[in-house]
Symmetry: C2
Subunit: 276 residues, 2 copies
């Protein structure tokens, strides 16, 4: 018998992975959650029929949502991750010795539970004493924070269901207020091939609030089209002019100090989308 | 009825596209050839069960195999494309007014025939008077050329069947001889995710012959993993120090003068693969 996971990534396009074993398939109060052990990518977390992360390529997404902002802020002491219950973004955040407190605001505790159980290499960092976990709505959580964070990472799912609010103008205003005066926010902003309007919307809406906004890209083979966008916005001075370098012993597999800048150099069609 | 094209991109990983119409499916003396009109990407050329190009994303591969070398060479007058019977690389080459002669060496005339018929936006440039088409083995063709070309583009399929020879040391020696003293070669060098050994081999073998070698990347959604590598080698001075800029009216959708350099900035795991 062969077992395959198939995802309709966009109309008329499917991505299929052979599955060695379905480790978990449950319906939580918020979404359908599966952990599948795949032939090609190892254990894979799937939420509402969309690949969130896999053991083989998780380093790309998690390094790239965290390090461009963390290596830009002069002293990232307090960091919030909205969503991201698998713990991967938190793990990368904690690599920065400046970080004193890393808050995870995840609405669905089952994501954390199953990640800890089946993806310990990703979720293990959630046990670090610097981590504070808030189970609940990330939007509501941030509303209670004023000028509190140096960096906020919006590690959301697609803008459907509970995550839709995390793509709204109101949410970005809340993030703005929750940041300190020189704070930075990064939001995952979807595929530049298949979610052009979402990406353009995130860029436009963050740019309307923050004095500086920039989109950067990373190649993630298990995401639609294999290319993903992140959008960084800054309350203070332009981020690309103040890049810090990793200290000795800081290890990454995708992010490099050279890539920090070049990831912001966009293909023509992506730049054009943002310039509209 | 729904018709789907499914490709096993690597073990345990499949890519499927919904097909509106199978425009052609033939067996040529060299390979199986199909042109499928797909829902998501429009007309798609498939050789031996591997997507070669689609109307929706062909601009990426064709711009990126051509322009980094063409905008590096001070005066690219004579250019050869080995393989690439769809004509897309030739079309990009001909955008450079310096080009006086563009030779296409394609082993399978059916690729040219079906591309002209069903992909005229790609193949149309083959009718340009500066183009010379050689039907036959590209390796043998280049052996007859000594110090003749400014730029050679190796636009091959995967290293199986007829294309396997285009990934050999002997072939690269032939390219070296066919180039002028300051000539450049670019070879498509497969996926950095799924064909690590092929990429490392191309980089190593070109680097053993040419004084300068560098790998760059482009995001191509219909190729395995969505990320593709190209390896450029130079007989003369280092290419990245002598980038020319596009003249007014030169249009591209992916390549930009900024991307010319940043495409060579590799993710850590790719750089590490090449450094081994």
């Amino acid at each position: 018998m062969e077992l395959w996971y198939t995802e309709e990534q966009t109309g008329g396009l499917r991505f299929s992975c052979q599955v060695k074993q379905a480790l978990a398939t449950v319906r939580t109060p918020y979404q359908h959650l599966a952990v599948l052990d795949t032939e090609t990518f190892g254990p894979m977390l799937v939420l509402d029929g969309m690949v969130m992360t896999t053991m083989a390529d998780e380093f790309i997404y998690h390094e790239m949502i965290a390090h461009p902002a963390l290596f830009t802020h002069p002293s990232p002491e307090r960091v919030a991750v909205i969503g991201g219950g698998d713990g991967g973004a938190i793990r990368e955040v904690l690599k920065h010795p400046q970080v004193k407190k890393a808050v995870l605001a995840e609405i669905d505790p089952e994501v954390i539970h199953y990640s800890r159980r089946f993806l310990p290499e990703i979720a293990g960092a959630l046990d670090d004493p610097r981590v504070e976990i808030h189970i609940g709505d990330g939007f509501a959580f941030l509303q209670s924070c004023k000028g509190e964070f140096d960096v906020v990472l919006v590690d959301s799912t697609e803008p459907v269901g509970a995550a839709a609010a995390l793509f709204s103008r109101e949410f970005y205003e809340t993030v703005f207020s929750a940041l300190k005066a020189d704070g930075l926010v990064v939001a995952q902003s979807e595929s530049p091939f298949f979610n052009k309007e979402i990406l353009a919307g995130v860029y436009r809406d963050l740019g309307a609030l923050f004095p500086w906004v920039g989109t950067y890209l990373a190649s993630i083979p298990t995401y639609p089209g294999g290319l993903w966008s992140f959008t960084l916005a800054a309350k203070g001075s332009p981020p690309l002019d103040r890049q810090r370098l990793p200290q000795a012993g800081f290890t990454t597999k995708y992010y490099t100090p050279e890539l920090h800048r070049s990831a912001f150099v966009l293909p023509g069609f992506v730049q054009e989308l943002l310039d509209q």
